[in-house]
């Protein structure tokens, strides 16, 4: 089955850590797409959970970098990256109702993550 997102090396930033995390999440999105095509409910639910955990870990890591680089004195104040949470909201809604995981949602996730990886270069 062809990959839903192909991006090896295309959105590389200066950090191998960030690149690895992006590639990992893209791989998980591809697995989710595959599970959806195969109409595998059990697999899809597991991959959705995995995507949420990896996304959360990735955002926390990036936010930590931004905090350390730009706001050394901000302590534990939460960093607002509302747009970066949109994909998690989309996943949470689909998790409650698997039928909502449509092609449109996948296209949204794909566009969102490609934009995110492009924007990461400016971090």
């Amino acid at each position: 089955m062809p990959h839903f997102i192909n991006c090896s090396g295309a959105f590389s930033v200066d950090s191998k850590e960030i690149d690895d995390q992006h590639l990992q999440i893209v791989d998980i999105l591809n697995l989710l797409y595959e599970a959806k095509q195969e109409q595998s409910l059990v697999t899809r639910r597991h991959v959705m959970d995995m995507l949420k955990r990896y996304t959360e870990t990735h955002f926390s890591y990036e936010e930590g970098l931004i905090r350390a680089a730009s706001y050394p004195g901000m302590g534990t104040r939460p960093l607002s990256r509302v747009d970066d949470r949109k994909d998690q909201e989309a996943c949470a809604v689909c998790d409650r109702n698997p039928d909502l995981l449509t092609e449109e949602v996948f296209e949204f996730l794909k566009k969102w993550w490609i934009d995110h990886m492009r924007n990461a270069e400016r971090m």
């Binding site: 995390q21 990992q24 599970a35 195969e38 595998s40 697999t43 991959v47 995995m50 955990r53």
Partner: protein, 135 residues
């Protein structure tokens, strides 16, 4: 009684991978509990389809982690994964042909192979994993 009982000692140190290993073995339990799928029933077929899809997802995920980590034994792992996928595919074929003996023999083989693979091969690559989300 469960066909397979998960123990903490089977954990290899990655929450994600451990969760997937456990889920796969629970699926084997479900299949066993459904009467080993010895009849040509819909439940057995659906479980086998799920088992097949789940194991492929799990292996692709592990291979993706290994690729990202630059793990040297990726090719060996891929060969072993492919072999196991063929065992599950054989199980599906036997189910379709209603071969109860083959099915009964296959389940312990799947369980034991998977467990050996976890404990002997998967343990080796865990130290190379860079992203390890908690539950």
């Amino acid at each position: 009684m469960n066909f397979f009982k998960w123990k903490e000692s089977f954990e290899i140190g990655s929450v994600e991978i451990d969760l997937q290993h456990k889920s796969f073995l629970e699926l084997l339990n479900c299949y066993y509990d459904s009467g080993s799928g010895c009849t040509r029933d819909t439940v057995g077929k659906e479980l086998l389809d799920t088992l097949n899809q789940y194991v492929r997802m799990h292996f692709r995920f592990e291979e993706s982690l290994m690729r990202t980590a630059g793990y040297r034994e990726l090719e060996l792992q891929k060969k072993q994964h492919k072999y196991f996928e063929s065992l599950v595919a054989d199980l599906q074929a036997s189910h379709a042909k209603s071969k109860p003996d083959v099915l009964k023999q296959a389940l312990p083989l799947l369980r034991d192979w998977f467990l050996c693979h976890i404990l002997e091969e998967d343990r080796k690559f865990i130290p190379y994993i860079k992203i390890n989300p908690s539950k």
